[in-house]
């Protein structure tokens, strides 16, 4: 279905203005009301909370209805709360137990019994920040709470979602501290554009520059961006809105889903609240490649007799390591013996220390929370670390009885030193394949300054990982200022509205220095950049919620948003230092400055939703949104898209007495979303070269033929779901099926260069994602002191590129250095198909070898797999016994393939255990030799192991592996100190936890490497592994104190 543009250009701003101003006078009037007496009388309410079996419930949330005043129950399930004397009711909420609201009246002691599984009333945050009862929703949504994000702390909060949310594939960036992750919800929708979800923090979309990074097979530097700038300790919850159905109201940018982050607020309380959280973990490589330790540096089973030839033979193809005295790369004679730990010894145990202190306080009129977090993370490589600071101040203020202000400011700054690059020219590439007899200690003499600044190493290439770490300086600083102010006014109990304005300013400074002597950049170079991205959103929402009759409830929301995004960038690259000892700009011979003037993008939107419920069992939702985007041509600038959904609770007809079923829900939803593009995509222009040849003015044309008739992209999605709760709410199941189709993709169609262009920009193609998601779980054991909860999720997505453009079969996303493997999106196939070379064969399927007996590579590349997993799943178990709790997560990624250039290079360099094969006596490849007359005769020529593995390592098909792996991802053993122990101390609460991540594999098909490692977080980051940093195993403690 194509989107139909509305051809009234000015409609956008007019509606915005009209709606925006309509209720502002009310706000002004409201402000005229006198501010109520701040110091009202308080009353104290006490009580205890227990479950139906009489067990005390610990940590139940209790708030005064309509305010932020609240507390939680202690270890004995009891609580004390000071409430204003006009407070009407207390709201008790507890995960898995739903919500209960109790009128206060004249009561001063309120004891509550909560029933497990009354989650029917569970409320979740949905699009535009609207809280909805989960049972009313016609689409799937998952909410993850703060304890799951901040206990087993990862610098990147999204890594804490791995294995916990169905339908979400998170590929963790393996680029060391500060690296982001690739997040794909319900499959890839776009061929070349962003495929990752929108990040919304407290209602404001944030800038996510840096979240699609890396991917180069040569030198991949994976940065972070978006969610990595958000402090995990500040997060209250993350709602995962999966795709268009849940996210339609967010419009264009939500077509890949939304991660809706709600941050912590202050609570009304007695006195000052102080909490301190300290998290110390130690990282080590989870595992390293399996090396052989029988043969050392050399070639042809020989140690060359002079240094030049020895360094030319930089692989482990020498003779057997027999301890005899042999020439060593330093020029000395050394015992020729194995150094089994030479790779392992390069790494250090890296400490990660995250400390958070939070202060909060307030009353029913005003509350505030301030938090500061410091994160110091070392990389497992020397001389590489991260240091970040995060300051957040959040305040809520009741200006009048009806008017309230909510405001927040966050400043985040992060410094990254010597972020490690991956790929064939990254540091690991010069470490992993080190000859087996080279002592890593010797490599620490990476330079002999009295002779030359050049790197010294065991190879003629001259690459030394220590030289790189000490001299390839790489510095990156991110700063983000995130703030908003929101005014909300309650006209009547059923009608309210808010206006909000928020800004996100992100500054990124990068500096990289290659000092003279670098093994392939002897003259050295320096580059620096400074970029600033800003996003301002102003929006309003009018909210109506009214019971029309006793059985019919109507909820209507109308809103508008004006989004203004800007970017600017200054950078220079210079090279060739005049005086080699000082890497500064003035000291370079060549310098190229770049300056990008302010790039602007504006999108205006109006949207609305209506929900009608009937008698608490039937729900109908309708939404609509119209966007006006500055990036599209005038005639196609405005586009509208709707969604409709139905949810029915059938249990009252099927099992009215809840004998077995507590809930049976069916739901269906259809949604459309339009999508625009980046600025400056319409006009073909001429560009002047800054360094014109010999000083001449030179102009050139874009290599892409732009189009002035681009239309918005269209994505539509159909979703059905079935949910059950049964056995007294002790068990639950949730099943979803969806099909997402994206069409009219804005794409640079590669055309033959003979047309004069590299590509024509057009709307083309159709890509679909079809999948199922299943979540089952429950509480098999609930006794006095012992509880066991279990949850299992499973999701399977299949992606198909149905059409691209006539005569174009595929789009190449990435290729290896030698071109033996390409990652593609192919028509009729999927996104991330892996194509590669195989052994060359004749018509009979016999392997063809050359005159020297060496097997050859096929001339074309064939389909060898796909980089997307077939299915993913996670199993979380939580066992609690009194104050002790144990939680562990096992997650699985099954199906899908990956090409490992690392494994190929380990074999090619004679380092791997596999390369021991054929060392003595060589092998005769079972193949045929082609004669000049075109006939084939059986091969009889023997080749050496070095020749065999040299040929073997060049073939793509030999290194495509299944990604299948199951691992113990997370482990937390926690203990909460009983209140009785603390009663005489200044502490109000304390807990301690032992935490672990990436502990071990239960199953893994590929050898040497982690199949989930990646070269980047962009579309080109999947399917190829090459000298990645090892996956890290973290072990540590978490201490939490409340004063």
């Amino acid at each position: 279905m194509k989107l139909k543009p509305i051809n009234t250009i000015s409609l956008g701003c007019c509606i915005l203005l009209a709606l925006g101003i309509v209720f502002l006078p009310h706000s002004l009037a409201a402000a005229g009301e006198t501010y109520a007496n701040l110091l009202e009388k308080e009353i104290t309410i006490t009580g205890s909370v227990q479950d139906t079996d009489g067990n005390p419930l610990i940590g139940v949330n209790i708030t005064v209805q309509g305010t932020g005043i609240g507390t939680i129950t202690d270890l004995d399930g009891s609580y004390t709360l000071a409430v204003p004397d006009d407070a009407k009711a207390l709201v008790f909420s507890y995960t898995g137990f739903g919500i209960q609201t109790i009128s206060i009246g004249t009561q001063r002691v309120i004891d509550v019994t909560m029933e497990f599984g009354t989650a029917l009333d569970e409320v979740v945050v949905t699009a535009i920040g609207i809280s909805r009862e989960k049972k009313a929703l016609s689409y799937s949504i998952t909410e993850i709470g703060s304890d799951e994000i901040s206990t087993v702390k990862d610098h990147n909060a999204v890594n804490s979602l791995v294995g916990k949310v169905s339908g979400v594939v998170i590929s963790q960036g393996t680029g060391g501290p500060g690296a982001g992750s690739r997040i794909v919800i319900r499959g890839n929708n776009s061929i070349t554009s962003n495929n990752q979800p929108l990040i919304v923090v407290d209602g404001m979309p944030i800038d996510a520059s840096g979240s699609n990074s890396g991917g180069s097979v040569y030198n991949s530097n994976v940065s972070g961006g978006g969610i990595t700038d958000i402090n995990p300790d500040d997060i209250e919850s993350i709602s995962v809105l999966k795709g268009p159905n849940a996210a339609a109201l967010y419009g264009s940018r939500a077509s890949n889903g939304v991660l809706l982050i709600t941050t912590k607020k202050g609570m009304a309380r007695n006195g000052l609240g102080v909490s301190f959280n300290s998290n110390i973990t130690f990282d080590n490589p989870m595992f390293l490649p399996e090396y052989q330790n029988e043969y050392g540096q050399g070639t042809g089973q020989n140690v060359p007799a002079n240094i030049t030839d020895l360094k030319s033979a930089s692989s482990s193809w020498g003779p057997r390591l027999d301890g005899s005295s042999q020439l060593y790369y330093t020029g000395e004679q050394r015992p020729y013996s194995a150094q089994p730990d030479n790779v392992e010894n390069f790494f250090r145990t890296a400490a990660k220390i995250v400390n958070t202190v939070a202060l909060e306080g307030g009353d029913q009129r005003y509350n505030a929370r301030f938090s500061y977090t410091n994160n110091k993370t070392e990389a497992v490589l020397p001389n590489s670390d991260l240091n970040s600071h995060n300051f957040t101040l959040r305040s809520q203020l009741s200006l009048t009885d009806r008017l309230s202000l909510d405001a927040k400011a966050t400043y985040f700054t992060q410094e990254l030193n010597n972020k490690v690059s991956q790929g064939s020219e990254g540091i690991m590439a010069y470490l992993y394949y080190t000859p087996r007899n080279v002592d890593i200690e010797d490599l620490k003499t990476y330079q002999i300054p009295s002779e030359s600044l050049d790197a010294v190493s065991y190879s003629s290439l001259g690459a030394n990982p220590y030289w790189l770490l000490q001299h390839d300086r790489n510095y990156n600083r991110r700063e983000k200022l995130l703030s908003f102010a929101k005014l909300q006014y309650e006209f009547t109990p059923w009608l309210s509205a808010f206006v909000r304005i928020g800004t996100d300013v992100t500054n990124i400074k990068g500096e990289s220095i290659t000092q003279p002597g670098h093994h392939f950049n002897k003259p050295g170079g320096l580059s620096a950049s400074n970029s600033r991205n800003m996003e301002t959103n102003a929006d309003f929402l009018l909210m109506l919620n009214k019971d029309v009759t006793s059985k019919v409830n109507l909820s209507v929301n109308l809103g508008g948003n004006a989004s203004h995004r800007t970017g600017e960038n200054v950078r220079f690259t210079s090279s060739d230092f005049k005086i080699p000892t000082r890497p500064i700009l003035a000291n370079t011979r060549e310098n190229q400055p770049f300056y990008t003037p302010l790039t602007e993008k504006k999108v205006n939107s109006v949207y609305g939703s209506a929900s009608i419920s009937y008698d608490g069992f039937a729900y109908l939702d309708i939404t609509g949104r119209n966007d006006w985007s500055s990036t599209l041509p005038e005639q196609n600038r405005s586009y509208f898209y709707p969604s409709v959904g139905v949810s029915l609770l059938l249990n009252r007809f099927i099992d009215p007495n809840s004998k077995t079923f507590n809930m049976i829900k069916v739901r269906g939803n259809y949604a459309e979303v339009g999508n625009d593009t980046d600025p400056y995509q319409l006009n073909t222009l001429y560009f002047v070269a800054q360094d014109g040849y010999l000083g001449r003015t030179t102009l050139s044309r874009d290599n892409v033929r732009k189009s002035e008739s681009l239309r918005p992209e269209s994505i539509n999605s159909l979703e059905f779901g079935l949910e059950f709760r049964f056995l007294k709410n002790r068990a639950f199941a949730d099943f979803s099926w969806y099909k997402i189709a994206s069409e009219d993709l804005i794409y640079d169609v590669p055309v033959p260069a003979a047309t004069g262009f590299g590509a024509f920009r057009e709307n083309i193609g159709r890509m679909t994602n079809t999948g199922i998601e299943l979540l089952v779980g429950g509480s098999p054991v609930r006794t006095n002191n012992f509880n066991w909860d279990i949850a299992l999720n499973f999701s399977k997505n299949s992606n198909e590129l149905e059409e691209l453009v006539e005569d174009l079969e595929s789009h190449t996303l990435n290729t290896t250095n030698s071109g033996n493997v390409a990652i593609r999106a192919t028509v009729g196939g999927g996104y991330g198909d892996i194509y590669g070379t195989t052994w060359r064969t004749n018509d009979q399927g016999q392997v063809i070898v050359n005159a020297n007996g060496i097997p050859l590579a096929s001339t074309d590349r064939t389909l060898l797999g796909n980089a997307q997993p077939d299915w993913i799943g996670g199993l979380t178990n939580t066992v609690t016994y009194k104050g002790v709790s144990l939680r562990f997560l096992i997650d699985a990624r099954i199906g899908g393939q990956v090409y490992s250039a690392t494994n190929a290079a380990l074999d090619g360099s004679g380092s791997s255990v596999e390369s021991l094969q054929f060392r003595e006596g060589g092998t005769v490849v079972d193949g045929v030799v082609e004669m000049d007359d075109g006939t084939f005769v059986q091969n009889t020529t023997s080749i050496t192991a070095q020749q065999y593995w040299g040929a073997h390592s060049g073939i793509g098909a030999n290194y495509v592996f299944d990604q299948d792996n199951i691992r113990l991802r997370e482990f937390v053993l926690g203990y909460t100190l009983p209140t009785s122990l603390l009663s005489n101390s200044f502490l109000q609460g304390a807990s301690i936890g032992i935490i672990g991540r990436n502990l071990f594999f239960l199953k893994k098909d590929i050898t040497h490497v982690d199949p989930e490692a990646s070269l980047g977080t962009g579309n080109n980051g999947m399917g190829i592994l090459s000298a990645n940093l090892p996956t890290l195993r973290s072990l540590g403690v978490n201490i939490s104190l409340r004063f």
Binding site: S10, G12, C13, L17, G20, I21, A31, Y35, T299, G300, Q301, N302, A305, N306, D309, K311, S312, S460, I501, H519, F520, N521, K522, P523, A538, G560, S575, D576, R589, E590, W628, S629, E634, R637, P679, Y680, N683, Y686, F687, V688, D691, Y693, L694, R696, T697, T698, S700, R701, P752, A753, A754, T755, G756, F757, D807, T815, G819, A851, N852, L856
Partner: protein, 561 residues
């Protein structure tokens, strides 16, 4: 408090007011881009002139150096300590091939943009500028088709055709010659493209806007193409192209040389030099001069020898007999090295103690070329110290001193072509005179002293065009091949066309020493098509393959059959 609310209201209203769609068109136009009404046609000529001969480092290295200069036998890799085996390029590599294809196939966009702007009815309508563009097209399509064979020509850069067909080489040659005729006729007696902004002037890096020189270049190119087509199947246009070019006038004076001066300060990612590769990687990225070239200069006392190359570094080299399977070939490989050094007249001593042989040779004394296509196992024997490297003027680093210019078309080449025409009985020139003028111009290009030129012309047997017709053709071919040093693609075409120097054209057969590559030791006849072509225009590529022959490096092109 009231003020506060008012402030927020204003802020809110202001945000929305400025957010009307009124400025949407303005903010979506890239301020870094120019439109045609701000600029002039000549600014679009310079880029295409540079990019064909001095592109950025990626194609400079992957196309020009790896394929052109090495297939020509001028440069060699694969000495001991070299990063690259000398089999590189003889075995198909999709990455290097795709880079070469990407550069040449993608080149046309910039030139075509210039042509469309200056054509009749274009924004900067100027027939003379258009004629210059047409001659550039000739240079481009000749280089492009001589590397790959059939390519899109007649349907290229047609706005209505997305998938242009591949033309056979005969039609391309005929087409270019006709285009050159048109340009020659348009130029007539005109001297400049116009006045002020209409004068291409200094934006024309080849001739500074001198149209008469462009006309000579057009005729010279026509002569080259006619000569290459001569004798090929169905090349009925060749003879008339040769004779009409000769009568209209080709490059004659030293100042007629069409050269592209090197920019010695520009970034390697704007335009590269050999030095950008040679010096960036340490000794491993050095390369050597090929044996055939050095032999042809040294054996005839050619004074260009010391202009082209440096003496071998010499010194002490140790070679150890390997264990294992390679041991059996140790003596054979050692003997191969001794033979090569002996042939070059080098004096050296050898001493063998147990398995270690030490070879000592005087430093910086002998000119010795490295044999081409050495295999990986022989690599340890081919020590760095034995071989001559290119002269500093060729491989010099940027930001230091003058670098030898890029050859577009030399006056010497025009004389050699005239000599060949005379040998074949075409035109009215004297073969010996033309041949010697060619050698003279070639030497002047390399700053050889006049006295040395005179001595060579009078004394060297190589300077005398004698013998049978075939022997004369061989000499002319070898001189053209020597003259095109640093213009590898043209030099490679000469070897393929004439089969000289024989040593190169015959390929290699002893795989104990040489690398067979994908073509069993045969001499490469073309490069394979890039994957971009198969991906975007597969059907037309396959049609071309069915006409031309398998998409392999040993499939001979139309004029080489």
């Amino acid at each position: 408090m009231k003020k506060y609310i008012k402030f927020l209201t204003l802020l809110f209203a202001a945000t929305f007011l400025t957010q009307c769609t009124g400025d949407f068109n303005d903010i979506n136009v890239n301020p870094s881009g120019f439109t045609s009404d701000e600029v002039s046609g000549k600014f679009f000529l310079t880029g295409p002139q540079v990019r064909l001969y001095a592109p950025d480092r990626f194609p400079y290295w992957r196309a020009h150096l790896i394929h052109g200069d090495r297939y020509a036998g001028h440069f060699t890799f694969g000495f001991s300590g070299c990063w690259w085996s000398d089999g590189l390029g003889y075995s198909y590599s999709s990455a290097y091939t795709d880079a070469s294809w990407g550069w040449l196939s993608g080149y046309i966009g910039g030139l075509d943009n210039y042509m469309k702007l200056v054509q009749a009815g274009g924004e900067f309508d100027n027939p003379y500028m258009h004629a210059i563009g047409t001659i550039m097209r000739g240079l481009y399509f000749q280089m492009y088709t001589d590397i790959f064979g059939m390519i899109p020509y007649s349907e290229a850069v047609d706005a209505d055709i997305t998938l242009p067909k591949y033309d056979d080489q005969k039609s391309i040659y005929a087409g270019i010659i006709a285009e050159l005729d048109e340009a020659i006729a348009t130029i007539g007696d005109a001297e400049k493209t116009g006045a002020n902004v209409d004068d291409v002037g200094e934006n024309d890096l080849y001739y500074g806007g001198d149209l008469q020189k462009w006309k000579k270049l057009a005729n010279s190119l026509k002569l080259r193409m006619g000569m290459r087509a001569l004798g090929a199947q169905g090349a009925d246009f060749a003879e008339s192209a040769i004779t009409s070019a000769l009568s209209s006038g080709v490059l004659e004076a030293e100042g007629d040389n069409c050269l592209l001066e090197k920019d010695i300060t520009i970034s390697q990612w704007g335009s590269a030099t050999y030095g950008d590769v040679y010096y960036n990687f340490g000794r491993g990225s050095d390369w050597k001069v090929g044996k055939t070239l050095i032999d042809n200069l040294r054996n005839f006392d050619d004074p260009r020898l010391e202009m082209y190359a440096d003496p071998a570094p010499g010194g002490v080299v140790t070679i150890t007999k390997p264990d294992g399977t390679e041991a059996a070939l140790h003596q054979k490989r050692l003997d191969f090295i001794y033979q090569t050094l002996d042939d070059a007249g080098a004096e050296y001593t050898t001493e063998t103690v147990e398995d270690v042989t030490t070879i000592t040779m005087a430093e910086e004394t002998y000119y010795i070329g490295q044999p081409t296509r050495i295999n990986g196992e022989t690599n340890p024997y081919v020590a760095y110290e034995f071989w001559s490297k290119p002269d500093e003027r060729v491989i010099r680093r940027k930001n230091t001193n003058e670098i030898f210019p890029e050859i577009v078309f030399t006056t010497a080449e025009a004389y050699f072509l005239r000599a060949e025409a005379a040998v074949r009985g075409l035109g009215t020139d004297d073969a010996q005179e033309m041949y010697q003028k060619g050698i003279e111009q070639s030497m002047k290009l390399w700053n050889v002293a006049d006295a040395d030129i005179g001595k060579f012309l009078s004394d060297s047997p190589m300077a005398q065009l004698t013998g049978s017709q075939e022997e004369m053709i061989e000499k002319i071919a070898i001189q053209r091949w020597i003259n095109n040093y640093t213009d590898g693609f043209e030099a490679w075409a000469i070897v393929r066309d004439y089969g000289y120097p024989k040593e190169l054209a015959e390929g290699v057969a002893d795989f104990d020493i040489y690398a067979p590559g994908d073509i069993n030791g045969k001499y490469p006849q073309r490069m394979r098509y890039g994957n971009q072509a198969l991906n975007t225009n597969g059907a037309n590529v396959n049609t071309a393959i069915s006409v031309q022959g398998a998409d392999q490096q040993d499939t001979k092109l139309w004029w080489a059959k």
